[in-house]
């Protein structure tokens, strides 16, 4: 009796598994098109559901499945999908991987879709689309940008008021910047320890490259694809490291290592800071922080102004069976079907309808209208980026931030190694990495 009962249970379990599989198959067969959409932000699960509902309502016969993989595992899983030639129709793509994936044929070439869409650049900012071409080191479009991130100079208005210095402007020179930084470095209680620094930076890409590009310099020789900082880049880097070692208007990296990078400025430990505009999202919640933004000051060799920026994008699978529907959906989730609250404040939507709305200008409050106007203006700037293949490794990004160029620059400001020795060693080790990707 017991045996029969056990067999019945096992049979029921097996049957239910098959029944479920059958019902999914049936569901798939009744719809015309099903698109797979992969994203990496688990907090957006409900938002994504409503975005999909809106798209499906406007496009009967098209169903969208959203798979959210936490950003820690997203790239590993996506790479394995790529290897199996089962990439989702539409997936989130960060700028750091565009070149590698495009060169491996893992992104659909979008030129034909762009050409057949004459109103595309009436609705989206072409400069943001174009910068994805230079990131891909290609003349073709491979990415559908939805949000632009760029770097700005944050400044603390209260500290400037207390020191009696005029706020920074977009025309600031480096001399004015350095001078203000020195005046804003204060030992408030006269205990020999500086309580407020004029500036804060470390080896991070958003910090160093912002000034390198502002001085019309570059770290990588794009003809040879080797690490070869030119004179303009060296000037920028020396300017920054001298702020720590000579002017003492910025702290050494190790002195701020008790805090996260993005906690230094909002905690009133420095008067100025250069980093991504998306931190405005955090500052919205800090009512005691009186902040403003301007463009990163142009260097003496600056020439024509370019903005250091890189977009978050979507890409299409090269094997998608439904390119037209996938393209329509990708544009929808890149901005056409979105609202501003689905963007991090400080990221600039690539879709003009969102960025040029009144709501965008007041996203951070009425008092920051001018700051948001600046971000809106920057969406039309000429842009440049710093990515190469193997960038995370040689630049020292994320979990590798104690290594690579990031670790090298920190070694200089921490007084562990001289500038010249550090850069010479960096050249050797970085070019070992680059030569693996660029023969």
């Amino acid at each position: 009796m017991k045996k029969i009962f056990l067999i019945a249970i096992v049979a029921l379990l097996c049957f239910s598994v098959f029944a479920q599989a059958q019902s999914e198959k049936a569901a798939a067969e009744t719809k015309d098109v099903t698109l797979e959409w992969w994203t990496w932000d688990p907090e957006m699960i409900e938002q994504n559901k409503s975005i999909i509902a809106a798209f499906e309502a406007q496009n009967p016969g098209v169903k969208v499945n959203n798979t959210i993989v936490d950003s820690k595992e997203y790239w590993t899983k996506l790479r394995i999908q790529a290897q199996q030639k089962r990439l989702p129709d539409v997936f989130t793509l960060s700028s750091g991987y565009i070149e590698e994936w495009a060169s491996e044929g893992l992104l659909r070439n979008l030129d034909d879709l762009v050409k057949n869409d004459p109103s595309l650049f009436e609705n989206f900012y072409q400069p943001i689309w174009d910068v994805t071409k230079s990131i891909a080191a290609s003349d073709h479009y491979y990415a559908i940008p939805f949000a632009l991130v760029n770097t700005v100079l944050y400044y603390n208005k209260d500290m400037f008021d207390q020191a009696g210095i005029a706020y920074p402007t977009d025309d600031w020179t480096w001399d004015q910047f350095l001078d203000a930084a020195k005046k804003l470095t204060v030992d408030k209680d006269n205990d020999g320890k500086i309580d407020q620094y004029g500036f804060w930076f470390y080896g991070r890409y958003a910090h160093a490259e912002s000034f390198v590009f502002a001085n019309n310099g570059s770290f990588v020789d794009r003809k040879t694809m080797r690490f070869a900082p030119d004179a303009n880049a060296q000037k920028a880097l020396r300017m920054l490291t001298d702020m720590v070692l000579v002017d003492k208007s910025a702290p050494a990296q190790q002195d701020m290592s008790a805090l996260k990078n993005q906690q230094v400025f909002p905690n009133g430990l420095c008067a100025m800071w250069v980093d991504g505009g998306w931190y405005i999202n955090d500052f919205k919640k800090k009512s005691d922080l009186n902040w403003g933004i301007v463009r990163v000051p142009q260097g003496p060799d600056g020439g024509k102004r370019v903005t250091y920026a890189w977009p978050d994008s979507y890409a299409l699978s090269p094997n998608t069976a439904h390119p037209e529907e996938a393209w329509k959906f990708a544009k929808f989730v890149a901005g056409e079907g979105l609202t501003l609250d689905q963007f991090m404040a400080g990221k600039i939507p690539a879709y003009k309808g969102l960025t040029e709305s009144e709501a965008f200008l007041t996203l951070a409050g009425e008092e920051h209208r001018a700051d948001m106007q600046l971000l809106k203006d920057m969406a039309s700037d000429e842009m440049t980026t710093s990515y190469t293949k193997g960038w995370s490794e040689w630049r020292g990004y994320g979990a590798a931030d104690s290594m690579g160029l990031n670790g090298t620059i920190d070694g200089i400001t921490n007084g562990k190694v001289t500038y010249d020795k550090a850069m010479a060693d960096a050249e050797t080790s970085i070019n070992k990495v680059l030569s693996r990707y660029y023969k």
């Binding site: 290897q83 320890k193 590798a400 104690s402 920190d410």
Partner: protein, 296 residues
């Protein structure tokens, strides 16, 4: 003549049926990945393409890397000091806890708490405590006029600091193991020794420690293997820095596999790690055979 009876109440295959599900799991989740790893160590694989066989190139690159020696040294150094530290402190704590005073259970639980706390959480909290200028330890030391070193960003101290935190976390676990060993020593033996005139030092060195030797070797084996589980602390405290000063083989495998997507190279590093762990474990068993005295 009496027929010999065999008392079998099950068929020969019944035990295998019970063990089979575990074997399936072992096969698919342990043996196959271990075998695949061995092969992948001889390939170049970025996950996007198929693995490309490159012979010994990964190992050649590894041994030519100026930082690799440092990474291996860090791994062995951390292992050595972790094993010594956790065994010594585990033993001392066990001796302290091995009495019937009121409230002992509270202390046992308190000392054991870090063992079951997430390494990531501990790493974050210790980073706060040890942070320069704003960290709790720095503030306390400044108040008494001592300038604290940069515990986590000075290459002279960073690895020692990580080792300390790891020992602090796990000492409670070894305390429990030693406690079990201590309590297995019959009090008759101790009393007989006291009657024979042995003082405290002699009781500890001539009786307790020799009778503890099976426990000691068990703890030694476990501690050696535990020493290599340092990924989460390094990831939450230093990211392997400054400049590889706290980079170990485990962390380097992570960086190469999941940051740089050089899976083949990471597998090669993992096999070097496996070799080291294997050698240490083998050495441990050889020593145990010669020196450990079982209670029986």
């Amino acid at each position: 003549m009496q027929k010999t009876k065999t008392y079998k109440w099950h068929s020969w295959y019944t035990p295998w049926l019970f063990v089979f599900p575990t074997l399936i799991g072992l096969f698919f989740f342990r043996f196959i990945p271990i075998g695949a790893s061995l092969y992948l160590g001889f390939t170049d694989w970025n996950l996007i393409r198929n693995p490309e066989f490159i012979g010994l190139d990964n190992f050649r690159e590894m041994f030519a890397d100026p930082y690799f020696k440092l990474i291996v040294w860090n791994t062995l150094s951390l292992t050595f000091w972790y094993v010594v530290g956790s065994m010594v402190f585990g033993f001392l704590l066990a001796c302290l806890i091995n009495n019937k005073m009121k409230g002992m259970n509270f202390f046992r639980a308190a000392i054991y708490m870090p063992v079951i706390t997430s390494s990531v959480a501990l790493g974050i909290v210790w980073s706060w405590i040890l942070g320069p200028r704003f960290g709790l330890l720095d503030i306390l030391l400044t108040k008494v006029g001592i300038t604290a070193p940069y515990w986590l960003t000075d290459e002279r101290y960073a690895l020692g600091t990580i080792t300390f935190v790891q020992v602090w976390k796990m000492a409670g676990y070894y305390m429990i193991l030693f406690l079990a060993g201590l309590q297995a020593i019959s009090s008759d033996v101790i009393e007989a020794a006291i009657v024979d005139g042995a003082n405290t030092r002699q009781r500890i060195t001539r009786i307790i420690i020799p009778m503890l030797s099976p426990t000691v070797f068990f703890v030694l084996t476990v501690a050696i293997m535990d020493a290599f589980k340092n990924f989460e602390l390094i990831h939450s405290m230093t990211h392997g820095g400054p400049k590889n000063a706290t980079n170990t083989l485990v962390y380097d495998v992570y960086l190469n596999a999941f940051m740089y997507y050089r899976v083949g190279y990471a597998e090669a590093i993992a096999y070097v790690l496996l070799f080291i762990v294997g050698m240490l474990t083998l050495m441990n068993f050889v020593i145990k055979k010669r020196w450990a005295q079982p209670l029986e």
